[in-house]
């Protein structure tokens, strides 16, 4: 009799566990799980209790974060991304480079928060000044967001890291040109062309870019001289030769191939010999 009662008690306990577990599971499904991330302790505190195993703890949080942010059904999943990747993982293991770029990619590509993502990459670079890849990625993201001046600055930072590939300087020069700073871009391409550390492919690209930009910069200079002449005399110059004779140009301008520019004295328009802006096909 006692035995039967004991079995009934055990069976009831098993059934109660199963039912209450299922109900609790359903109730938990309605909760805002992202909010619990806010209470994830800062990495500085976790580091203290890790007893010398902080990098391993950073790995565990990183693995967990990947699973958490990969669940596309989760609402508000982009809350506290900086907290997880910057305050927790990066504090536990400041040299964990992958965590910075992954957090930044989640912020920029998925959450559409460019500034926050770039800030995370900047923080990573502050802590890892030997990792050119972090400002390089920031440069790419700024360029994708059509912010070439910002991108050029990131590529400049990347290229300043010892051991950074020539590609970073090429990207900086390309972004400067897109940002409208053609003279600085030309100077950078010239440096790349003359730098013995440049590889063959980079030198070939630099040679083409220097040629294109020299024409563009020269053309811009001639247009500026025409404009200056007009503002000072109130009339357009008769020809580019006359402009040079009056001292507005040091010599009669020719494009890098030695061909003269086209000048229309009725409109003051200056055009390259081909009729197209050199390098305009980029």
């Amino acid at each position: 009799m006692h035995r039967l009662a004991a079995w009934v008690l055990v069976a009831a306990a098993v059934a109660s566990t199963a039912v209450s577990g299922l109900v609790a599971e359903r109730m938990a499904a309605g909760r805002d799980e992202a909010r619990s991330l806010l209470y994830l302790p800062n990495g500085k505190h976790l580091r203290t209790i890790s007893l010398g195993h902080a990098p391993l703890l950073a790995d565990f949080v990183y693995l967990w974060a990947i699973q958490f942010y990969s669940d596309y059904d989760r609402e508000e999943r982009f809350q506290y991304v900086e907290h997880v990747f910057s305050d927790v993982i990066a504090e536990l293991d400041p040299r964990f480079v992958d965590a910075y770029w992954l957090g930044a990619m989640i912020l920029i590509v998925e959450a559409g928060r460019l500034d926050d993502g770039l800030a995370l990459l900047e923080r990573g670079f502050e802590r890892n000044p030997d990792q050119w890849i972090l400002p390089y990625l920031a440069g790419w993201e700024a360029w994708m967001a059509r912010q070439p001046a910002r991108a050029a600055e990131y590529f400049r930072q990347a290229s300043a890291v010892p051991g950074a590939p020539v590609l970073t300087r090429r990207m900086q020069a390309g972004m400067l040109r897109r940002a409208g700073d053609e003279r600085t871009a030309l100077g950078l391409w010239r440096e790349l062309l003359e730098d013995p550390a440049s590889d063959e492919a980079s030198r070939a690209i630099a040679s083409r870019k220097v040629r294109e930009l020299e024409g563009t910069v020269l053309l811009a200079g001639v247009r500026e001289a025409v404009e200056r002449y007009r503002s000072e005399t109130g009339a357009l110059p008769r020809s580019l030769e006359a402009l040079a004779q009056r001292g507005y140009l040091s010599a009669v301008p020719r494009d890098p191939s030695g061909r003269p520019f086209h000048y229309d004295p009725r409109t003051g328009r200056v055009a390259p010999p081909s009729g197209r802006v050199l390098g305009g096909d980029e």
Binding site: L51, G52, P55, L56, D59, L102
Partner: protein, 266 residues
């Protein structure tokens, strides 16, 4: 009539070697090497699992996991075996037989320590070898991790010495608690100095500073993050840290011998 030949006195290291060998055999008989199987399963299983869970960083995580597992398994072995070493001899009364022979108590302590350290060195070496094979298969350079493994060995020597000291003073449960407390304190000793810096100059601040230098600083033997990220260690850091750990171990072993000297086994 010729004088009787003087009795041959064995050199002091003979007793240490004999006790050490005996401790080593006993540990092997306790199937301590099964831990290695667990370690291999953890590391290999983790490496298989990581390809499913992570985005990049697989090698970094395997290295972190492997090095931490070597340290944690090592500390567990050192702690659990070390705390019962002397106590067991006293419980079984084998220490009476042993010390009835011309064996000094410091030789007994040193022999016990040497035996357990040999087991730990074997453990750590085999665990490192398993990790190295896994990394080598993945095209990584396992030799870069050697400084961290070496300093983990030194850290284990310090923990073992403390376990022996506490084993000479009290029962295994208390000794285990104290050893764990030393391990925790050893990794948090920086906080004692931090506390001192926040205090006004005076007795309390001086005490904090003294404690900072007196307590074992086990973080000095932790270069796991540096070797995993390929950060160069300062010149001579490895040697100085190893020397610090070895010297500290000798001091703790001397204290353990002293504690045993005071025990009456007559």
């Amino acid at each position: 009539m010729s004088a009787p030949a003087p009795a041959r006195v064995p050199p002091p290291w003979a007793a240490i070697v004999a006790i050490g060998l005996n401790t080593f055999r006993e540990a092997i008989r306790d199937r301590i090497l099964y831990l290695l199987l667990v370690f291999a399963l953890v590391v290999i299983g983790a490496s298989r699992l990581l390809s499913l869970l992570t985005v990049g960083s697989e090698d970094k995580i395997i290295k972190d996991l492997g090095l931490s597992a070597i340290s944690i398994f090592g500390v567990m072995t050192a702690g659990f075996m070390g705390v019962s070493l002397v106590f067991k001899e006293i419980e079984r009364r084998t220490v009476y037989t042993l010390l009835a022979n011309p064996v000094r108590r410091w030789q007994f302590v040193t022999g016990k320590f040497a035996g357990l350290l040999s087991v730990l060195v074997l453990n750590v070496t085999l665990m490192y070898a398993a990790l190295a094979v896994l990394l080598w298969i993945r095209g990584e350079q396992p030799l870069a991790l050697a400084p961290a493994v070496l300093l983990t060995g030194v850290e284990l020597a310090v923990v073992t010495a403390f376990a022996l000291l506490f084993s000479s003073l009290t029962n295994p449960i208390l000794a285990a608690v104290w050893t764990f407390a030393v391990y925790v304190t050893g990794h948090l000793v920086w906080s004692v100095r931090l506390l001192g810096e926040r205090l006004p100059p005076g007795f309390a601040r001086g005490t904090c500073e003294a404690l900072y230098w007196l307590l074992p600083n086990l973080d000095r033997m932790n270069v796991r993050a540096e070797v995993v990220h390929g950060i160069a260690l300062p010149d001579g850091f490895l040697a100085v840290s190893a020397l610090y750990g070895a010297s500290y171990t000798v001091v703790v072993l001397a204290l353990a011998s002293l504690a045993l000297e005071r025990k009456d086994f007559a």
